[in-house]
Amino acid sequence: MAALKRFLRTLFLRWEAVLELAFGQQNNPVVNLGALGWYFFWIAAGTGIYLYIFFDTGITNAYASVEYMTHDQWYAAGVMRSLHRYSSDALVVVVFLHILREFSLDRLRGRRFFAWITGVPTLWLIYICGISGYWLIWDKLAQYIAIATTEWLDTLPFFGEPIANNFLNSTTLGNRFFTLMVFIHIFAPLFLLFLMWLHIQRHARGRVNPPRSLAVGTAITLLALSLVYPAVSQGPADLDTVPATLQLDWFYLLAYPLLDVVPGGKLWLILVGGTLFLALLPWVPPLKPTPVAVVSLDNCNGCGRCVEDCPFSAITMEPRSDGLAFDTQAVVLADNCMSCGICAGACPTSTPFRRARELIPGIELPDHSIAGLREKTVAAAARLNGARRVVVYACEKAGAEVLGGPDAQVITMPCVAMLPPAFIDFALSRRLADGVMLAGCAEGDCYFRLGDEWTRQRLAGQRDPYLRSRVPRERLVTSWLPAVSTRRRQHALSQFIDALRALPTADNERTR
C-alpha cells in the first residue's frame, strides 16, 4: 500500500510541477481538484435547472422537448444541455483524481477518516445522477440504459417480477419508471449536495471555490467544447428495435459494457465490495494515534485565535470552567484534532521571550511543546558554525531535513504554522542566527490545509499573531515547495545564504 501511494504521489507531483509552469501554484488544477468538483457540480445544477424549464416530463414528449432545446433553442438550452453534460463528465474526472491524490498524499488515515468515508457514497450518487439523467432524454442511449439497468437490477434478489419487463416492447412501456427517473434526477443531486456538505464538515473554511482564473478558464473551456461539439441525442427510443451501436458516455457508463462479460450479480459484488474496500482504506494500515492539542487553562485567556486558525474545526470556545476572569476557554475536540500544532502557533502566549515563568502556552501539542521548540532553537543555533548561519523551521512533510549542514540547522514540526512568528524575532534579535528560513508544503497544498496560508498572513501582518515590524525582512525567507523539490529547496537556501553575505553578520551587527 505504501509503495502504491509513493508511486501515485510521484506521478501527481510530476504532473503538478508541469502544470505549475502554466498555472502557478495557487491556480494549479491539481491542488484544486476538490474545489473544481464543487464548481462542476454547480455548473451541472445551474444548467439543469434551466433545462428543466423546457423539459417535458412525460415519456411520450420527453424526446421531442430535448430535441427542441438542442436544435430550435441551440443558442441557449442547447448550449446549456452540452454544458450540463460536459460539466457532469468533468465532475467524474476531478472526483476520481481527487480520490487518488488524497490517497497518495495519505490524507485519509487516522482522524482524517471522516472526509474520506463521507466522500465514498458521493461516488454512487454521482453515478445515480448521471445515469438517471441519460435516461430522461429517452433516445436510443436512454433505451439501452433503461434495458441494461433494469436487467442488471433484476440480478438482485429483490424483485418478484423482472422490472426489465417494463421495457420489453413498445406495448409494455409506461410512464411509471420514467416519472421515477425524473424524481431521482432531481432528488439525487440534492442528496449529493448534502453529502458534499457533510464531506467538508470537519474542515474549517472548506475550499469549495476554485481560484477565479481557474474557474473562468475551465468555464470557457467547457463552453467552447459545448459550441464546437454540442451534445446531441441518438435518435428516439423505440423498444421494438435493437439499439445496436451506441455512443456511450464512458465517464458514467463504463460499467455497462462489462455486463457483456461479467454476470450482473458478480458485477454488483465487485462494485459493492470495491466501495467497502474504498471506505475501509483509512484503516489500511491503521495510523498510530498522535497526541492531540492540550489546553493549559492557567495560560488560556480565551482569545479564540486557536479556534480561528484550526483547519479542522477541532477547537471550540466554551464558558470558563476555572473561575478566571475570562468569559471563555478553548476546548479541544479530540476526534477532530489532527495534531498539526497550528493552534500553538496562533496562541499569543506562545512567545519564546517569556522569562517570568515556565513557558507553557494556552494551547500546544504535548509531544511538540513550545518550550521544547525554544530549546531546539537555541541548540540548533549553537551547532551552526558557517560564515552565515541559518535556522530552518520546517514542516515534517516538506522533506527539508536535507538542508542541514554547517550553514543551516533544521528544526522540524508537524506544520510550519505551528511556529509562532515570535520565534523568528527571537532567533534574529538574540543573534542566534543570521537568517531564518521557513520551509513548508507547496503553496495552497498544505498537508494540514491552511498552514502555509496562515503563515504568510502572519508574516505579512494580516493575521494574529503578527511578525513584529522590527524583524529585518531581508533576514527571513519562505520556501513553499512539495517534498520532492529537494533541489529547488537547496537552491533557495543557497540563494538566501548568498543574500545574507551581503548583510553584516549578526555578531557584527551586535558589535556595531
Binding site: D89, A90, G160, V228, V242, L246, F251
Partner: protein
C-alpha cells in the same frame, strides 16, 4: 513569467482537458448487439401451481378457524418451479427451470432471457410447464414468424389470455 506567457501555456492544458472530456463522452462507439441480427427476448413471469393441490375444508373445519381467517380451501404456500424451453427451427435456444420467488416460494417464477438469431422466417416453438406433471407441457405454441434484422421478437406469457404470446 508574465500573465500573457502563462495564459498561452495554459491553452494546451485546457485543450487536452476539453479533448479528453469531449472524446470519452462519446467515443469509442459501443456495439451492444450485432446490427445484422434479430434479438429474441423471452420474458415470462407466472405463478405456477402449488406443490400440493388445495384441499376443500369441511364446514366444521371452517367454523374452527378464527372468523377473520375463514376460507373454503387450504393450500400449501410453496409453488412448483416453472419449466420452459424455446426452440427455433428445431434447435433448443433456451431451456430453463425457474424457482418461485419469495421467502416462502409462493411468488411467481420468472424467466428473462435474450439471444440473437439470424433474421428471416423461423419456426418458433415455446413450451411451458407449471404443474408437477412428469412429462409433456401445460402450454405450447408453435408459429412461423418473420424475425427482422435489428428488431426485437418477444415471447411473453399471459395465462388469463390463453398463454404464450409472440410479438
Amino acid at each position: 513569467m508574465n500573465s500573457l506567457t502563462r495564459g498561452l501555456l495554459q491553452l494546451p492544458a485546457y485543450a487536452v482537458f476539453a479533448i479528453s472530456v469531449g472524446y470519452l463522452s462519446f467515443w469509442p462507439r459501443y456495439q451492444y448487439a450485432a446490427p445484422d441480427r434479430a434479438v429474441v427476448k423471452v420474458s415470462v413471469s407466472h405463478a405456477t401451481k402449488h406443490i400440493k393441490p388445495c384441499v376443500l375444508l369441511t364446514p366444521q373445519q371452517i367454523a374452527e378457524l378464527p372468523p377473520n381467517m375463514r376460507r373454503k380451501e387450504s393450500c400449501e404456500r410453496k409453488r412448483l418451479p416453472l419449466t420452459m424451453e424455446v426452440e427455433i427451427d428445431g434447435d433448443i435456444m433456451l431451456r430453463v427451470q425457474a424457482e418461485p420467488s419469495g421467502l416462502w416460494g409462493d411468488g411467481p417464477a420468472s424467466v428473462y432471457q435474450r439471444f440473437e438469431v439470424e433474421p428471416g422466417i423461423h419456426l418458433v416453438t415455446t413450451r411451458l410447464r407449471d404443474t408437477d406433471r412428469a412429462d409433456g407441457w401445460d402450454y405450447s405454441r408453435t408459429d412461423e414468424h418473420m424475425l427482422h434484422q435489428g428488431r426485437y421478437f418477444t415471447v411473453t406469457f399471459k395465462a388469463e389470455t390463453g398463454g404464450l404470446v409472440y410479438r
